[in-house]
């Protein structure tokens, strides 16, 4: 296989990781809303934890994106 096309295929596969991280982020916000609607008075206090979980989850998807960029542009 041509190395250049192998690089592009690799970048495409690496980009799948972002979609998988999206499941995690969607799950996170979905679960938060579910909890928040059951007990709205406690929801505001958990906003910081929500953002923390979002940041940690999203970072893993971003790592996949970095791998894709490295394959594409270096």
């Amino acid at each position: 296989m041509d190395p250049q096309s192998a690089k592009f295929i690799g970048a495409g596969i690496a980009a799948l990781g972002i979609g998988i991280a999206a499941i995690g982020v969607g799950n996170l916000f979905g679960q938060f809303l579910q909890g928040a609607l059951r007990n709205p008075s406690a929801a505001d206090g958990q906003f910081g934890r929500l953002i923390f979980g979002f940041a940690v989850t999203e970072a893993l998807g971003i790592f996949a994106l970095v791998v894709a960029f490295l394959l594409l542009f270096t």
């Binding site: 953002i51 790592f63 960029f69």
Partner: protein, 248 residues
């Protein structure tokens, strides 16, 4: 198609060498200085009156202060307010640079890995120094969580150690990659407009579609610019909280 990573190129403005160290003033340095001066100037301007009933600018500065102070108090408690100047500086620095980068043609300093890495390493070293200075060897309790059965403790400790040392990596990569990815996406979609217009005929008719996408992504990027500044500061608070209260 235009090269989407051309915008992140660091250009030399004034060559400068101090004691054999290459300290060339680059466009990145220029925007860092501009960001610091802008946030400093705005806050100084906002707090010049210091009236009991705040003016418009003063109430903006006060709400930014209260926002960060609330974040610090929530995560570290009242004794965390010692770190408030550091954390407020981080927040203002990153927020100003992210927002400056959103102006078309401006350089985004936070999309350079060495800038975010320097910030993250500063946080990491602060946590280690403060942790050992405040708790002595008790800081190592951070790696030994309470209530873990003795037979899984080595494994849990190993995981805790690895997660502790990978913090600067994820801390810096998150800000860097978010800004990088956002700006590349904008550039790629803007490139689509030019490609469609260049193709002519029916392809030109759908050229406004990527333009709408660029508009939407720009709005999203403003949100991301704020959110990443918030997340970076928030994680700094949490890491410093580990240094203050190492027992989980």
């Amino acid at each position: 198609m235009p090269d989407p990573i051309h915008q992140f190129e660091v250009k030399r403005l004034f060559p400068l060498e101090i004691f054999g160290v290459d300290a060339t003033f680059t466009n990145s340095a220029l925007f860092m200085v501009a960001g610091v001066l802008l946030s400093f100037g705005l806050l100084m301007y906002a707090s010049r009156g210091r009236s009991l009933v705040p003016s418009r600018m003063q109430s903006v500065a006060e709400s930014v202060y209260e926002f960060v102070a609330g974040m610090v108090r929530d995560s570290m408690g009242e004794q965390g307010m010692k770190f408030f100047p550091l954390i407020f500086t981080f927040f203002m620095f990153i927020l100003t640079l992210n927002m400056l980068g959103m102006i078309p043609g401006f350089f985004t300093v936070t999309s350079q890995i060495w800038v975010t890495a320097a910030l993250a390493i500063l946080v990491f070293l602060t946590v280690i120094v403060v942790g050992f200075a405040k708790n002595g060897l008790g800081f190592l309790k951070l790696f030994v969580p309470d209530g873990v059965p003795i037979y899984v403790l080595p494994l849990v400790s190993l995981i805790e150690v690895i997660s502790f040392f990978s913090r600067p990596l994820s801390h810096s990569l998150r800000l860097f990659a978010n800004m990088l990815a956002g700006h590349i996406t904008l550039k790629v979609f803007a490139g689509f407009i030019i490609m469609l217009l260049g193709a002519g005929g029916a392809a030109s008719a759908i050229a406004p579609l990527p333009l709408l996408a660029v508009l939407g992504i720009t709005a999203l990027e403003f949100l991301v610019a704020f959110l990443q500044a918030y997340v970076f500061t928030m994680l700094t608070c949490m890491y410093l909280n580990d240094a203050l209260h190492p027992g989980h």
